[in-house]
């Protein structure tokens, strides 16, 4: 996880008690108790709202559990076997991966481009940063509803004007086909999140020392050479962080497709999390929904572990 954690925990070995050895034992104990007391709200939250549901979702995945009927006893491995027989499952897995790949490539590429454009400390650059960041502050559901009107043949700013001037005769079906819906949703997500990834990468760019750039320029390196051989390698931790955030976020896509397409046309734009939602609340089978949730969780843990090793490797 965060590299910062390692740095901070070493700096904390100097406790107050250690600096006052004479009164140390009593004070250290009192402070240990107080420290523990201050974390009690955190512990309650984690136990009640995180660990308990985590245990329950495992139990549910092993049980016949209807939305209205509740727990009807263990049926392992029935729920897991049912997953692959669900007609929506494999198309949804494939669609989610397709969506994740496209969105990640575009968001990291565009985020990096924007970061390079706004990294200077000028007024104009800060105006630009604000402009690119504004869509980030909007909620995903609000942005999706905005796009729903934006892509509509009734009030959208693209289709109706083109029709009015006679360039096209039928409205553009932005969500009409599977591919169109995928690209339109991707456009929405890139618009909404590009500023977020820009900011992650700007932080990385600002961590690169000015001296290195000056030295490279003195050596006669071109702008491209500097970017390729200096900026890009030193930006690798930030790029890797941005990539993992983008991959995990996209694999869990829900709101945007739930609002924009509802899976249309013909259930070709159903994502993994939408399958979980439908299992639970339309087919009312919480057992299979829980089994699907566990699968998604495992995939995310694997991706995070890979990324952790990748980051470690980069540092060695």
């Amino acid at each position: 996880m965060p590299q910062g954690t390692h740095v901070t925990s070493t700096s904390m070995t100097h406790t107050l008690a250690a600096e006052h050895p004479v009164r140390s034992s009593g004070i250290a104990l009192r402070r240990a108790v107080m420290g523990f007391v201050y974390t009690i709200p955190t512990i309650i939250f984690i136990v009640v709202l995180f660990l308990t549901p985590l245990v329950l979702v495992v139990k549910m995945s092993l049980s016949k559990w209807g939305l209205l009927t509740g727990d009807q006893g263990y049926n392992f491995p029935q729920n897991y076997l049912l997953i692959s027989r669900n007609q929506l499952f494999w198309p949804a897995v494939w669609f989610t991966i397709e969506y994740t790949v496209i969105v990640t490539i575009l968001l990291i590429g565009i985020g990096l481009g924007l970061a390079l454009l706004v990294q200077t400390a000028t007024r104009w650059a800060s105006v630009l940063r604000t402009a690119f960041l504004l869509p980030v502050s909007l909620g995903l559901a609000a942005a999706s509803l905005l796009a729903y009107g934006f892509y509509s043949p009734n009030i959208g700013p693209i289709s109706p004007p083109l029709e009015a001037i006679g360039l096209i005769h039928d409205p553009i079906a932005f969500l009409g086909t599977s591919l169109a819906a995928l690209l339109s949703t991707t456009f929405l997500i890139v618009w909404k999140y590009a500023g977020f990834y820009m900011l992650v990468l700007v932080v990385g760019l600002q961590g690169i020392s000015e001296d290195l750039y000056e030295a490279a320029e003195l050596d006669g390196a071109s702008a491209w050479q500097i970017f390729r051989h200096l900026t890009l390698p030193l930006l690798r931790p930030s790029l890797s962080l941005a990539t993992i955030l983008c991959i995990t976020g996209s694999l869990l896509a829900f709101d945007q497709f739930f609002i924009l397409t509802k899976g249309a046309p013909d259930n070709t734009t159903v994502t993994a999390v939408q399958v979980i939602y439908r299992e639970a609340f339309q087919r009312q089978n919480l057992g299979t929904a829980a089994a699907l949730s566990i699968m998604v969780l495992l995939v995310l843990i694997i991706i995070n572990a890979l990324q952790f090793r990748f980051l470690r490797g980069a540092k060695d």
Partner: protein
């Protein structure tokens, strides 16, 4: 890179490119405001510009005041809970040594690894069991829990940045640890609190998935869920104008807060707390 070019003339392509990009990013936001007040057949705003679509929202379902009230309650509870828990937790993690501290901190961060969707279904069952079905409190608890990794990390590094001399002299003067926290430390961690509060507000105000699953009673739903429903249920005809009015109502607090507090938002990224 064009940034090195000294003359204004040489920088013209940079201004044209970046200015164009800024317009592309801002255009959809401006368009939604315009669309919400523009005339459109089949909506309450058929002739000329005006606020007919906003009137529609006042009358739809439980009505805009109820729905906005739900959003405000969820946001306020989430922000309050997140601030209290992460301040106490961050202080403990930064300044105290106790058994299990590092394990507890890692456990807090590990919340980020578990997707929302995985926990929502068992939470739906649990909240039903304890009588918190259709409760704004239940939704707030869930959203606040997901804020804890970022918030606790942020508050921990905020407390760690305070010089130790400050609290040591207060401790020697006979101030208890809570007195030190309240009187000496709190003023120094205010920027961290603003950052944590801003992230918690944006998360709570905008959350769609948790209220969609946990709140089935229409009179309990917050803005995002209510407006997504409003769009579909107007007699089978989609009311795009009212939908965009809803987007504006949802978006305005976020945009205003963001413009006022942008540097606190950026702090959240600078701190390294986004990692994890």
């Amino acid at each position: 890179m064009s940034v090195d070019q000294p003359t204004t003339l040489g920088r013209t392509p940079y201004y044209v490119l970046t200015g164009g990009l800024a317009i592309i990013f801002l255009f959809p936001l401006l368009w939604s405001v315009l669309a919400s007040v523009s005339p459109q057949a089949g909506t309450a705003q058929t002739h000329g510009f005006g606020f007919g679509n906003y009137v529609t929202m006042f009358q739809f379902g439980p009505g805009l005041p109820t729905v906005t009230f739900n959003s405000v309650v969820i946001s306020a509870l989430t922000v309050g809970l997140t601030l209290i828990i992460s301040t106490l937790g961050g202080y403990a993690f930064a300044r105290f040594k106790f058994w299990g501290r590092d394990a507890l901190f890692l456990l807090t961060l590990s919340i980020l690894m578990v997707p929302y969707a995985t926990l929502l279904i068992p939470l739906y069952v649990l909240l039903n069991m304890v009588g918190l079905a259709n409760s704004l409190v239940g939704v707030s608890l869930m959203i606040a829990m997901y804020q804890l990794p970022f918030a606790t990390y942020m508050m921990r590094i905020s407390f760690e940045a305070i010089p130790r001399d400050l609290e040591e002299s207060a401790l020697i003067d006979g101030c208890g640890t809570f007195g030190v926290l309240w009187r000496i430390m709190m003023p120094a961690v205010t920027p961290g609190l603003v950052t944590v509060g801003l992230f918690a507000f944006l998360a709570a105000w905008n959350d769609f998935f948790a209220p969609l699953i946990l709140l089935t009673d229409p009179t309990k739903q917050p803005l995002p869920v209510a407006i997504a429903n409003m769009r579909q249920q107007t007699m089978g005809v989609i009311n795009y104008g009212a939908t965009e009015a809803g987007v504006v109502v949802m978006g305005i607090p976020c945009v205003i807060l963001f413009l006022l507090l942008q540097r606190y938002y950026v702090r959240g990224f600078m701190s390294g707390a986004i990692k994890g």
